[in-house]
């Protein structure tokens, strides 16, 4: 069985290390915050100017002046800090953020990513994605393995306008966990009930299977 979005988020949460500063993108990445392992303390960065983002507010306690990058109302945790957008991207650019998790439309086997534009269809803009992928030390992509038409999103090269080049290190999909290596996507783990054959059939980019490939623990 392919993973649910929540399971993808839960698997990515296992990558978090105590003391990490983490930027979570919109969509599946946001859900990662719900599965931070016990004993692991991370600080969530929201690029609109907040370190120490907390959960959604209780009903009636929403503050229009306190939102995340998805424009959702949020809260702060003890020890949080506000800052302006230049400083926010300054800390991203300077490599202070340990991990970035974001969604993608396409990822190529050389680490290129496309996630901001479908020519003539979707022209919403890149927001902070280009800044994040260009600068972050460690980027994990969280996405479905295939698009709604069933076509692979793990490609030999991106067909959509690029967000960044050679920047993605790891991809977690509903089918498995993949490192991006000089040999292409390296399958490290497969989702429970998913076969290597299925992963091979649904991966258009170069794919190698790790010698010690194992079932994902989710």
């Amino acid at each position: 069985m392919a993973l649910t979005k929540e399971q993808i988020a839960r698997r990515i949460a296992q990558e978090l290390q105590d003391g990490f500063y983490v930027n979570l993108g919109i969509g599946i990445p946001t859900l990662v915050a719900n599965y931070i392992p016990e004993g692991v303390n991370v600080v969530l960065q929201s690029e609109n100017g907040l370190l120490g983002m907390g959960p959604f507010p209780f009903e009636g306690e929403e503050d229009a002046d306190l939102i995340n990058a998805g424009k959702q109302t949020v809260t702060t945790v003890p020890g949080s800090a506000f800052f302006d957008s230049a400083m926010s991207f300054g800390m991203i650019r300077a490599g202070k953020v340990d991990l970035t998790v974001l969604g993608a439309m396409e990822v190529a086997d050389n680490g290129d990513i496309a996630n901001w534009k479908i020519p003539k269809k979707l022209v919403k803009g890149m927001g902070g994605a280009m800044d994040l992928v260009a600068a972050a030390k460690n980027i994990i992509v969280a996405m479905q393995h295939t698009n709604p038409k069933g076509e692979s999103k793990l490609l030999p090269q991106c067909t959509l306008p690029l967000t960044g080049i050679g920047c993605i290190k790891k991809v977690v999909t509903d089918l498995g966990v993949f490192d991006i290596t000089p040999d292409g996507f390296k399958c490290l783990e497969y989702a429970p009930g998913v076969t290597i054959e299925e992963i091979k059939a649904k991966t258009a980019g170069r794919l190698v299977i790790a010698d010690d490939v194992k079932e994902m623990a989710v």
């Binding site: 907040l50 957008s85 230049a86 300054g90």
Partner: protein, 232 residues
């Protein structure tokens, strides 16, 4: 020195059609609601607007788009606005989409008197087209120029009669850099206090950058995406 004006109409009265404006805010958070209303009422057009977003259909910069007042929009993300998309696809509106950090930093450069900066964002993408590339320590960077804005319009939480500004929460976002970047900077604030009442230790934008200030009224502070959890 008198920076205090009566209200939004007076603050924006000399903004001509064709001007380049910076407008603070992230989504609808921290937008200068009073000044936007006054600009809509004044009906000036052919404006170039530099702002992270373009509002929603019936609020924020979306109101200026409805009135066809915007010639060109420079932003990082423009979803949530059907009228914007219509004008873009029909060619009525020029749009320059740039990475969010680049947008912030090009504002910052202007406020710090730097003509340009070298940034990594967009290398290898269509954002890099036509831009000078320089290699530093083995990495390519794009030369990004400071913005040049006739007016910067921001909203702060508190301000004093000297133009010093304090922002609240994530409503700060782009406003400090924009306030510093405008040739003329207009600040509308929720609370305007006499000089001396704000602790100088907590000023986000010193008054030297602010030319006009007034206490705004009737803030709606619309929430774009209300997310809550239930009390158990």
């Amino acid at each position: 020195m008198n920076k205090v004006v009566a209200g939004a109409e007076e603050a924006i009265k000399d903004i001509p059609s064709g001007a380049t404006l910076m407008l603070g805010g992230f989504g609808l958070c921290g937008i200068p609601e009073n000044c936007i209303s006054a600009i809509v009422k004044k009906g000036i057009n052919n404006l170039t607007c530099i702002s992270n977003n373009a509002g929603v259909d019936d609020f924020g910069i979306g109101l200026m788009l409805q009135g066809r007042q915007v010639k060109k929009m420079i932003a990082s993300y423009v979803g949530e606005n059907a009228e914007f998309e219509r004008q873009l696809l029909s060619g009525e509106l020029e749009v320059d989409l740039i990475p969010q950090g680049t947008l912030a930093t090009r504002c910052m450069a202007a406020g710090y008197g730097m003509p340009a900066v070298f940034l990594l964002a967009g290398i290898g993408t269509e954002v890099a087209e036509g831009k000078e590339v320089r290699n530093f320590n083995g990495k390519d960077y794009l030369l990004e120029e400071a913005f040049d804005a006739d007016f910067a319009i921001v909203k702060a939480w508190k301000g004093d009669t000297m133009g010093n500004l304090i922002f609240k929460g994530t409503a700060r976002n782009f406003s400090p850099m924009m306030a510093m970047a405008g040739k003329i900077t207009i600040a509308e604030v929720e609370h305007l206090v006499p000089a001396g009442e704000l602790d100088p230790n907590y000023i986000h934008v010193p008054g030297i950058y602010v030319h006009r200030i007034f206490e705004g009224k009737n803030y709606e502070k619309r929430i774009e995406n209300r997310t809550v959890r239930k009390k158990i």
